[in-house]
Symmetry: C2
Subunit: 185 residues, 2 copies
């Protein structure tokens, strides 16, 4: 039986993000991350498939949270209310890891390949949200339009939240972005 060292995933994340910022994502090796965390490469690979997964490993949980929340909203809710509830739940989860999220964003912004990966991740979230709406009986193209527009608001809200110094909560910034979207459209 393998005994998992408590907290080793978190230590690897802290070490990896620090190194990605200091040396750049490309130039950092898994060996360096493990060494900085005081762990072995073997332990790294128990938690992450590769060094990119330190940055994108949370996408599955975020998607699952979006889809589950969208499924739990009462039947009477309109599509836009469904996606708002889902985004606010996701925003709440990210708010709890603000420091990680902000540092991660700086690392992604500095690297073309990672920026492209982030676009792919957001496109997957939009597809999953559109599917959750279809499961609720929303037809096309309304399901895709609502889900994709929601992800646009999420992306803009996230960028504002990362940049701001006054640390307004992400769910609040998401509500603001969705309202702005209603106004401009």
């Amino acid at each position: 039986m393998v005994r998992w060292q408590p907290g080793s995933r978190g230590r690897l994340e802290v070490a990896a993000l620090a190194l990605y910022e200091e040396r750049g994502f490309e130039s950092t090796t898994v060996a360096e991350i493990a060494e900085r965390a005081g762990l072995t490469e073997r332990t790294f690979f128990r938690h992450f498939a590769d060094k990119r997964e330190v940055l994108f490993g949370g996408a599955g949980a975020l998607q699952e949270l979006l889809v589950r929340t969208a499924g739990d909203v009462p039947d009477s809710a309109s599509p836009i209310d469904v996606v708002s509830a889902a985004l606010e739940a996701a925003g709440g989860a990210l708010q709890e890891r603000r420091e990680f999220a902000v540092q991660r964003q700086r690392i992604i912004a500095a690297n073309t390949e990672l920026r492209e990966r982030e676009l792919v991740k957001l496109a997957s979230l939009a597809s999953a949200l559109a599917e959750a709406l279809r499961q609720r009986g929303v037809t096309e193209p309304a399901a895709t339009l609502t889900a994709e527009a929601a992800i646009v608001a999420f992306k803009v809200a996230f960028a504002c939240w990362v940049d701001q110094s006054d640390k307004q909560d992400l769910p609040e910034v998401i509500r603001y972005a969705l309202n702005e979207l209603k106004t401009v459209i």
Copy 2:
């Protein structure tokens, strides 16, 4: 002086797209494209940097058309009317090359790398459109929200237009998608 053979670009496009469909994008070589078109590899590289550019070489002109149209709309127009005019102009240009656009879309849908490249292209179009709105005095986050939401409508409209058999014009489908977006948001 190099004499450019009239129509060689078009012949290379036709040959490339046919081969990408027959053999897959990855498996096709520039030598095969040139041979199928009855031209030399040298001629291919006068028109395209690589075989991917046959599919993405039009992105610059499309972006230029979007930005120019957004700049030409009267000052009194609202941001959403500006982006609607820009998208309809882009739709008109794509409508004129419907066969190429539909075949290109099938090829992109069949290849992960190309799908990711298409996401990057759409993100660039959204950034350029947001910048065009800022040039018109639209503030943030309204500029980015309007531009990104417009590209969402464009993407959905494009997918409908490619799928449909009754060949409704793309500018018309774009107007429909923008109206649907207003309804769902």
